[in-house]
């Protein structure tokens, strides 16, 4: 799986936390354990005096939903992301995609 990753277009991430709860449900993680953590950034900025961004970060517990992948399904976080701003794929594909989606971040969790 090492050549797969998650691409997150954080310009559209609304901080809704569906990714996190979807991950906990999928893996049966109790509260306190999660494959992805969402952090909020509020800072003085350029486009507007204040910027608010959210960034989901795949933790050590992220296994890229290997079970789902084997069943031909998207990772739980990607499927449920309410802003549809997450993508799963091979790193090569995702890098290509990244060229056209500014304010994105590519994670290679495994």
């Amino acid at each position: 799986m090492s050549k797969y990753g998650l691409l997150i277009n954080y310009d559209y991430c609304t901080g809704c936390q569906s990714c996190a709860v979807a991950c906990q449900q999928e893996h049966g993680f109790p509260a306190g354990k999660c494959g992805i953590k969402v952090t909020e950034y509020v800072y003085a900025a350029v486009r507007k005096p204040v910027a608010i961004d959210f960034l989901p970060f795949p933790t050590e517990l992220c296994d890229l939903c290997i079970n789902r992948h084997q069943q031909g399904e998207e990772p739980a976080c990607v499927k449920h992301c309410q802003a549809a701003c997450m993508a799963f794929g091979s790193l090569a594909e995702l890098v290509e995609q990244m060229e056209v989606t500014p304010r994105s971040v590519l994670f290679s969790p495994r």
């Binding site: 569906s18 709860v21 969402v38 509020v42 069943q71 309410q82």
Partner: protein, 744 residues
């Protein structure tokens, strides 16, 4: 799919208990051996296209929570002592029947109030029980000025004869790919940060979908939010002044002749009078009132007016303005004079899907269900009807501020009992929450139907009945679109659905009840759609109205699809969009929009403002919670663990409070605990805090009541409502307060 043998997947529609929300999305329930093991978004449901919010993804933790109420309970100790004993359903129904009958015999049916919270599926069953019992007093008890959607509905009804919503393509199963659909070029997002929830039947992230497809945003919000930071224009408005802004924008659009002349000529009534009225609101004056720079008001008005299609999506702050109905009217005028009514990507007329009534939203629907005679009869004694003609003429609610005053005073007639269904009044919506608590303790008999104990059930209930989540019940939903059904896939304890409970009670209280069971009722109500409950389940739980049906856009006023007589036009007296409202005229309300200052604030109460210099905004949404729910759900609570107050860094310095510190928010009504979050999200003269806080992990019995008097923000929100129509003006966003240190 099936990771495991024996897993069955049931697509269903959501509404209320469980996720808590106003519902509409399609979710797939994974059930194994009668147990819900997982929830996934249904990719065949066009509403959400496979997506899910965190609350519905946490459904398994909600459904099987150890604190779920699972049997009927009878209070055995004193009220508030927290001593309850399980009883059978038969015994519970018997007690309720006896009590409610004897109260009706002695004091009349009007002496029982039937109380609910927000626009949840309980509106159908509770109004059914209320009407069958014969009480006129169906009420959103505690919700000052009915300040949640009803004022907006009233403003729209008075203008257009119908309701309207932003068109995000939700009326077509093909959504954004439907060739008939066009994405709004500009969206005014007025008083909402849509992502955290699906308010009023609108999936919040639809706005995000439109942004990705090119929509520019004008965000009107006193706070910096995810939405405002991505907007073309962010109008950082002073809370409670939206009416002035709407009039100022109308002023620009009319005086600069940016309106749609053809539409105005052909389809509206009273334009000249409106034109005259808006002259009272020149931009410089509006700028002073709203704290928004003149240039921004003008630019935003132009951007909205010259782009077509353009849409307005709005939130509950509109209702909470003084004279919320009038503010809604002014905003409806914006989409009317720019010709954005019922066109793709504009504001489209929204009617219950397929003409099916679940939760009656209008007087017409109530008459359809219960007949003109009963509605007229009940209007005679309904609380508020004598005082407010609009309360009498629009929808079927008792006026909530007057209802609690009457519960307290017993005048003009005594209120003896309350049937409170999935509404945590004391921990949630009640402004003047302590007054509600004191007054409601006087009630002789209180039934609480809920899924968890909460401050309201603990403080007041004599009988507690355990309700079901959407996964545990047969029900139906027609709030705009889609037409959807919930169907029972699991059973938890002895829980019953609100429909089951209320149909059983209704049959006991009215021997001439129309329905014996839930399926009968649903199938009868679905008959206008030409479909049965089982057929909808079979089809995957949802259906869209077909083209040419009066509940499906577009341009229905041109096609004669709106009016009963089949003529082109709107369902108003004049057949036109009434910029000068005949309905308001008949209700003694100003037929034209106007602005009035909030009850408290720098302008109206300068002395109070000197003492309490912060405008407190409450009532925004967390992604994690629905109002006062979900605090006990581990996956959700860990992501929003404490009741925070957002304080601007300068304000924090001024009051000497620091990030993470527990403080009090205080005014003459009392003080409430909050944890400081120093943040640039808020304006220096405002603070923002979430409502609905209580702590299920604290003791439930008196005096603790799960910490409600520590955390319930609405105990420092005054009442009654600040509006002349009876609708609007709950002071949830304009109350003044200060920060004070907690002295140990």
């Amino acid at each position: 799919m099936g990771y495991d043998k024996g897993v069955e997947v049931f697509p269903t529609t959501t509404w209320s208990a469980g996720a808590g929300c106003h519902g509409g999305c399609g979710q797939k329930l994974y059930v194994k051996d009668g147990k819900l093991i997982k929830v996934e978004g249904d990719e065949n449901a066009s509403f959400n296209q496979g997506r899910s919010c965190p609350r519905v993804l946490a459904l398994t933790q909600y459904v099987y929570h150890p604190d779920r109420l699972t049997t009927p309970l009878k209070r055995v100790g004193k009220r508030g002592e927290g001593k309850f004993e399980p009883i059978s359903w038969d015994e519970a129904f018997d007690i309720c029947e006896d009590k409610l009958k004897s109260i009706r015999d002695e004091f009349g049916a009007e002496s029982v109030v039937f109380a609910q919270g927000t626009g949840r599926d309980v509106g159908g069953p509770i109004s059914y029980l209320c009407y069958n019992y014969g009480s006129p007093n169906w009420v959103q008890l505690g919700l000052s000025g009915q300040s949640c959607y009803t004022p907006r509905l009233g403003g729209m009804k008075a203008t257009m004869g119908d309701f309207a919503v932003m068109d995000a393509g939700q009326f077509s199963a093909k959504r954004y790919d439907d060739p008939e659909y066009e994405v709004p070029k500009v969206i005014i997002v007025w008083g909402q940060n849509p992502p955290p929830t699906c308010s009023d039947g609108f999936f919040g992230h639809w706005v995000v979908d439109c942004m990705k497809r090119g929509s520019k945003i004008i965000s009107i919000d006193p706070r910096n939010t995810w939405m405002s930071t991505r907007a073309e224009h962010h109008l950082q408005i002073r809370p409670g002044t939206d009416g002035a802004l709407a009039l100022g924008m109308l002023n620009v659009i009319i005086n600069e002749e940016l309106y749609d002349k053809e539409f105005v000529d052909k389809w509206t009534y009273g334009f000249e009078k409106l034109k005259e009225r808006v002259q009272e609101y020149p931009v410089d004056k509006v700028s002073q009132i709203t704290w928004i720079p003149e240039k921004q008001i003008v630019e935003a008005a132009r951007l909205y007016a010259i782009n077509s299609p353009a849409a307005i999506h709005w939130g509950v702050p509109i209702d909470m303005n003084p004279e919320g109905t009038s503010v809604a009217q002014a905003i409806a005028h914006l989409w009317s004079i720019t010709g954005n009514i019922d066109i793709p990507g504009g504001n489209v007329i929204a009617r219950p899907s397929h003409g099916v009534t679940t939760y009656p939203y209008s007087t017409e629907e109530l008459v359809g269900l219960y007949g003109q005679d009963l509605v007229d009869k009940l209007n005679k004694s309904r609380i508020g009807c004598d005082t407010y003609p609009m309360v009498k003429g629009f929808r079927g609610w008792a006026q909530p501020d007057m209802a609690i005053d009457q519960i307290d005073s017993g005048k003009p007639y005594p209120i003896k009992a309350a049937w409170i269904q999935t509404a945590n009044i004391l921990g949630g919506q009640a402004a003047r929450a302590k007054f509600h608590y004191e007054a409601m303790k006087k009630l002789e008999f209180v039934v609480v139907i809920d899924l968890f104990h909460n401050p309201t059930s603990m403080a007041l209930a004599d009988i507690v009945l355990p309700a079901a989540t959407f996964a545990e019940k047969d029900s139906f939903r027609s709030w705009w679109v889609p037409l959807g059904v919930m169907h029972k896939t699991i059973q938890v304890g002895e829980c019953k659905s609100d429909w089951e409970i209320n149909i059983e009670m209704a049959n006991r209280l009215n021997p001439n009840c129309k329905y014996q069971n839930v399926k009968e009722l649903i199938n009868d109500r679905l008959s206008v759609a030409g479909v049965t409950f089982d057929e909808l389940v079979e089809q995957g739980s949802q259906a869209m109205p077909s083209k040419g049906h009066s509940s499906r856009p577009y341009r229905r006023h041109e096609k004669g699809l709106l009016r009963h007589d089949g003529k082109p036009g709107f369902t108003t007296e004049t057949g036109r969009v009434e910029l000068y409202s005949k309905a308001f005229e008949s209700w003694g309300v100003d037929p034209l929009p106007f602005y009035r200052e909030p009850a408290q604030g720098p302008v109206n109460t300068p002395e109070l403002y000197a003492k309490y210099p912060l405008i407190m905004i409450t009532g925004a949404r967390s992604h994690m919670f629905f109002h006062s729910e979900h605090r006990m759900i581990p996956w959700l609570r860990e992501k929003d663990p404490e009741p925070y107050v957002e304080v601007h860094p300068e304000t924090a310095e001024k009051f000497g409070v620091s990030d993470g510190e527990w403080i009090h928010l205080e005014n003459d009504m009392g003080k409430v605990k909050r944890k400081v979050r120093v943040s640039l999200r808020v304006h220096p003269q405002m603070i923002h805090t979430l409502h609905g806080w209580w702590k299920p992990e604290m003791k439930g019995s008196e005096p603790d009541l799960f910490g409600v008097w520590d955390y319930q923000i609405n105990q420092i929100i005054p009442g009654p409502q600040d509006s002349g129509s009876g609708f609007g003006g709950g002071q949830y966003k304009t109350t003044l307060c200060k920060l004070s240190k907690i002295k140990e």
